[in-house]
């Protein structure tokens, strides 16, 4: 079968509505009789609510209702979706995360009251008129400080602020022995800075209740409508799932932050029934800073040991992960199964041990942000590699080549079993670094660098060879690791009588271009024009089920589910075709949209078969009419994209300001359906990873106030902060899914961060700079260069 669309940079079909302003995001939706919610939030990080007086606000014209924690005393809070156990086997601590706080607020921005009014302005005015009396308590924001004796407690019932502790890898004693035998050990203290996802569309929800049918509808800017429905119905509100429709319309970016079930979703859904009116809540950006789950925030000490030839002999890590005040939906999985399992990297490290302590603090909840756990793992490994190379006097590229896992395709050679539970599917790590060095022109670069130094310019190069686990995830595997849900995907391929096709997928596109790349797969597999395919997603009433989009899983898992359904369509189609052509299905070939009797010119087109399926006058006996199949695909393994990122930076010797001169990225994401879209995904990830390295970072003051709470203080990468990216790809297909794809959504954000930091260290190494906390602001770099 020839591919007309797969592998082509087909222009996106969804773009038309976005470039003309016709995209329909949740806040664009207006329902009849709709009212507006405004949430009054705690100004304090930690305080006891002594009293709430809503009388003045309630009396204001246009105010419809005001709810407080009292209204939710008997309603569950939003749950965590992943159970992790302590090292000793006891269950993690999962505090109640109430829809509105009744007694004690636990982070700045915790919701205290919800005002519903005829307009958003009135709701905001009324919220100002609510009088809350607080007893302010001391707060703690740093995970290590939260563990100190006498530290303020986030949850009074957990006397040490520990959510759980956890470990992975080889036996600790074995790792200690390996480290003892090391010829050289590089040891570094790391802070993986807390960042804010900041999807450009602020979260927005509309709750609606239809009295006639006793049915709820929630419009939500989410990455996974079905998951929200399940969590909200079964765990929070206790309403029957089949009476709830959740719609995720156009969503303006997620990056992880829109995976989770947020309190406001349940609030508007619940209140819509109380008031019998649709209720819209849309976050302000400053609220988003306080309430969207943040990312990263690890404090680690990591040691990498080498033998005298520069081979890694061991890796030992102690990390404190800050989970914030509550456990967000995936929070417990991020520092554990999405992080510890990636510490093998692309190296043959024989002994690895991670000791992890996950901690509550008086801060916004931390959860998966683009890459989720894998950027943190990559950062440790790749920083250690570059520093070790410098310390041992080995070229950092050479040190990597020395330690790479040899190439394996997962078909002729087995997958690679790591020391940290995973089995890599296929990989060729040499190839991406070789290509990266070629694109960089490494030999020339070194000369150029020496020349620049002579002229007082601080030019540096930094490497990162990353791996990640995507295509989340085999349900049995994640189930054994504590996931409270399966992580399969569903797809329905509904062929219409005219041969046009609707595809219903449980994946959700919020910028990834599913409506195009999924359609490319369908069109080629069925041999029909792209325009004959429509991809439908984001509506729990339309789509049978879905686990949503995150963890670079859409094509690998969602796409594979579609392929499964297409196979069923073709199998039945062949029976119909055989009947019409009066032959056996074994005599048929399917190519380019038609079944042909082998060795003849007798054929029947896909459209004719589709029509026959719905007008079954001449039809096989015992075959049901119709051509409409659903499938659920549960992956056999994760997928393991990898790549090599190289940053070239120049540091202004006088000010410490870092400028990215070049950025080379060679990624291997397996087979590619739409190179243009994949490249776009890489670009976006790079910007976020570079942002984390140079610009972005949350700062809490000692009282738990978020002092980087707007775009005026929290620096987002802008066009003039970034260069044109130089990208290329290698292809090592995934051996275990039908498309051979691995996933490309997070790669850029994983590989780029350490490459940039390594480059800055390389530029300033001769000035004695060894390590710096991100973001590498000019002030920090200048201080380090001048030993201040």
């Amino acid at each position: 079968m020839s591919n007309k669309y797969i592998g082509q940079s087909v222009k996106r079909v969804e773009d038309k509505r976005f470039i003309t302003g016709e995209g329909r995001y949740t806040d664009d939706i207006v329902l009849p009789r709709m009212v507006h919610a405004y949430i009054l939030r705690s100004p304090y990080a930690h305080a006891r609510i002594k009293s709430i007086d809503t009388s003045e606000a309630l009396a204001m014209k246009g105010v419809v209702a005001i709810y407080t924690g009292k209204d939710f005393e008997n309603i569950n809070g939003v749950p965590c979706g992943w159970q992790v156990n302590f090292k000793d086997g006891t269950t993690m601590r999962e505090p109640k995360h109430p829809l509105l706080v009744l007694d004690k607020v636990k982070h700045a921005g915790d919701g205290v009251a919800m005002v519903v009014a005829e307009t958003k302005e009135i709701a905001a005015d009324a919220a100002e008129a609510i009088n809350v009396k607080y007893e302010v308590l001391k707060a703690v924001t740093n995970p290590k400080e939260a563990l100190a004796p006498g530290a303020p407690l986030v949850h009074d019932e957990y006397p040490d602020n520990i959510a759980f502790d956890w470990q992975i890898g080889n036996d600790k004693a074995e790792v200690d022995a390996a480290m003892d035998s090391a010829h050289h050990i590089t040891k570094l203290d790391f802070t993986n800075n807390r960042v804010v996802p900041n999807a450009m569309e602020p979260r927005s929800y509309i709750g609606d209740y239809d009295t006639a049918y006793d049915r709820y509808t929630l419009y939500t800017s989410t990455q996974n409508p079905h998951l929200i429905r399940l969590l909200m119905c079964a765990f929070v509100l206790g309403i029957p799932e089949h009476k709830v429709r959740v719609v995720g319309p156009d969503v303006g970016g997620g990056f992880g932050s829109k995976i989770y079930h947020y309190t406001e979703e349940a609030l508007v859904t619940w209140a819509a029934k109380q008031l019998r009116r649709p209720i819209k809540w849309t976050s302000d950006r400053s609220e988003a800073f306080l309430t969207d789950a943040h990312g990263r925030d690890h404090v680690s000490t990591a040691e990498m040991g080498f033998d005298k030839d520069g081979h890694i002999v061991g890796l030992r890590i102690k990390t404190y992960a800050n989970l914030g005040a509550y456990l967000s939906t995936f929070a417990s999985a991020v520092p554990t199964y999405l992080h510890g399992t990636l510490l093998q990297g692309v190296y043959t490290t024989p002994k690895i041990h991670l000791d992890m302590t996950c901690v509550f603090t008086h801060t916004t909840a931390v959860d998966a942000y683009r890459g989720a756990g894998r950027p943190e793992a990559t950062y440790l490994l790749e920083r250690l590699m570059d520093v070790s190379a410098h310390e041992m006097g080995i070229d950092p590229a050479e040190l990597r080549f020395k330690n790479f896992i040899p190439p394996f395709d997962g078909v002729n050679q087995a997958g690679y079993q790591t020391q940290v539970a995973l089995q890599y599917d296929s990989g060729n790590y040499h190839a991406v670094l070789e290509r990266g060095l070629e694109m960089l022109g490494y030999a020339d670069f070194k000369e150029k660098q020496a020349e620049a130094r002579k002229n007082g310019k601080l030019l540096g190069v930094g490497f990162s060879t990353y791996i990640e686990a995507c295509g989340i995830a085999p349900s049995a595997v994640v189930g054994s690791l504590g996931a409270r849900a399966g992580l399969f995907e569903s797809a329905q391929v509904r062929v219409q009588p005219t041969g046009k096709v609707n595809v219903y997928t449980g994946s959700h596109s919020h910028g990834q271009g599913h409506e195009t790349s999924f359609a490319q797969v369908v069109a080629d597999k069925l041999g029909i024009p792209l325009a004959d395919v429509e991809i439908i997603h984001g509506d729990s009433d339309a789509v049978a089920f879905g686990m949503g989009t995150y963890g670079s899983r859409s094509l690998a898992v969602g796409g594979s589910a579609i392929v499964k359904s297409i196979e069923k369509v073709l199998e039945k189609g062949a029976k119909i075709a055989a009947h019409k052509l009066e032959c056996s299905t074994d005599d048929l070939d399917f190519a380019d949209g038609k079944w042909t009797v082998k060795g003849t010119d007798k054929s029947i087109g896909f459209g004719d078969v589709a029509l026959t399926a719905y007008v079954p006058h001449v039809y096989p006996a015992n075959l049901e009419p119709g051509l409409d199949f659903s499938s659920f695909y549960d992956p056999a393994n994760f997928t393991y994209p990898f790549g090599c990122h190289i940053a070239v930076v120049e540091v202004d010797a006088e000010t410490g300001k870092v400028t990215i001169k070049r950025f080379v990225a060679v990624d291997d994401v397996g087979n590619v359906i739409n190179p243009m879209i994949v490249e776009g995904q890489i670009h976006g990830g790079l910007a976020q990873g570079i942002g984390q390295a140079l610009l972005e970072g949350v700062i809490y003051d000692e009282n738990g106030q978020l002092t980087t709470g707007t775009f005026m203080d929290y620096a987002m990468p802008r066009a003039d902060d970034l260069p044109m990216f130089e990208t290329d790809r290698k292809t090592t297909p995934c051996p275990h899914n039908p498309l051979g794809v691995k996933g490309a959504g997070e790669a850029g954000a994983i590989g780029s961060t350490p490459a940039v930091v390594n480059a800055v260290m390389n530029a300033t190494w001769h000035l004695g700079v060894r390590d710096l906390e991100m973001p590498l602001t000019p002030q920090r770099v200048w201080r380090a260069m001048n030993h201040k």
Partner: protein, 283 residues
């Protein structure tokens, strides 16, 4: 967020605006609105009334008259950035206007609005100080011209008195051969100046004359740096002279501090930017 309730009044003339302002002491003058409206949206400021003067065309002009450049208070940053008259006669102003905020802000924000607001990190004050500008203000009965050095009195505060508005900025046309520059080290999020240094100088027979150096962002208000000026005046334009003059910068001011630049670093940056500015104007 959304502003609190506010009455909007569109002034038909300067005197109309002043009369309404007199009658409504809680009102705020609305020029381009790019400082006031963001504050109103966050409810950091909730005036009872805004008096819109942005459309008063008699406050929107750039002209040369009697040895002065005269700029109407409601002239936008964008108009200044694109003015060919200023590009020729006072390029310091086009250069400064060009790095204020972003293009959208420059299209709406006005020079009068910006300097009345007197943000300690705003760009205009440094340029006005270095250019020896005067600010013309009126209360309807009386018009006075305030030298920039007297106008900016500190943190978000000016010599404007209640009931006065700015009508014009006047700048003496610099002598032929005068060089000028504005150099800015930006806060990466807000894009305000962490340090902004405006400088003007004339080199005569290899010796620096008529030098003026002014800073914004460094302290709680903009200031002329007399130490730097004195150190380079009358000196030859060697790199050493420039460096040693620049090293005097921001020596006796209260230094601002924030996440992006503490006192030490800010002072260091002031010196780096003084050097860069002096190098540009003393070349």
């Amino acid at each position: 967020m959304l502003p609190n309730t506010v009455d909007y009044y569109r002034a038909s003339s300067v005197s109309d605006a002043l009369n309404v302002l007199k009658a409504n002491p809680d009102a705020k003058i609305l020029a381009g609105g790019h400082s006031l409206i963001p504050a109103m949206k966050l409810r950091l400021n909730s005036p009872s009334m805004v008096i819109d003067i942005a459309n008063l065309s008699d406050l929107n002009y750039i002209k040369e008259e009697g040895g002065n450049i005269r700029i109407g208070a409601m002239t936008t940053h964008g108009q200044i950035a694109h003015s060919s008259l200023l590009a020729e006669k006072l390029p310091l102003f086009t250069e400064t206007a060009d790095v204020i905020g972003d293009v959208q802000v420059r299209n709406m924000g006005t020079i009068g609005g910006s300097i009345a607001h007197a943000d300690p990190s705003a760009d205009w004050p440094a340029a006005l100080l270095a250019a020896d500008a005067s600010i013309v203000v009126t209360n309807g009965d009386e018009t006075r011209s305030i030298p920039a050095t007297d106008f900016f009195v500190g943190f978000f505060s000016t010599a404007l008195e209640e009931g006065e508005i700015i009508t014009e900025i006047q700048v003496p046309v610099p002598a032929t051969g005068t060089k000028m520059t504005y150099q800015k080290f930006m806060q990466p999020a807000s894009r305000f100046a962490i340090v902004g240094c405006a400088a003007m100088a004339k080199v005569e027979n290899g010796v620096v004359a008529d030098v003026k150096v002014a800073f914004t962002g460094v302290s709680d208000g903009p200031f002329r740096d007399g130490n730097v000026e004195a150190a380079i005046s009358g000196k030859t334009t060697t790199a050493e002279n420039i460096a040693s003059a620049a090293a005097q910068a921001a020596s006796d001011v209260n230094l601002n501090a924030d996440h992006y630049a503490d006192e030490d670093y800010r002072q260091h940056l002031a010196r780096v930017y003084a050097k860069r500015a002096l190098s540009a104007v003393c070349g």
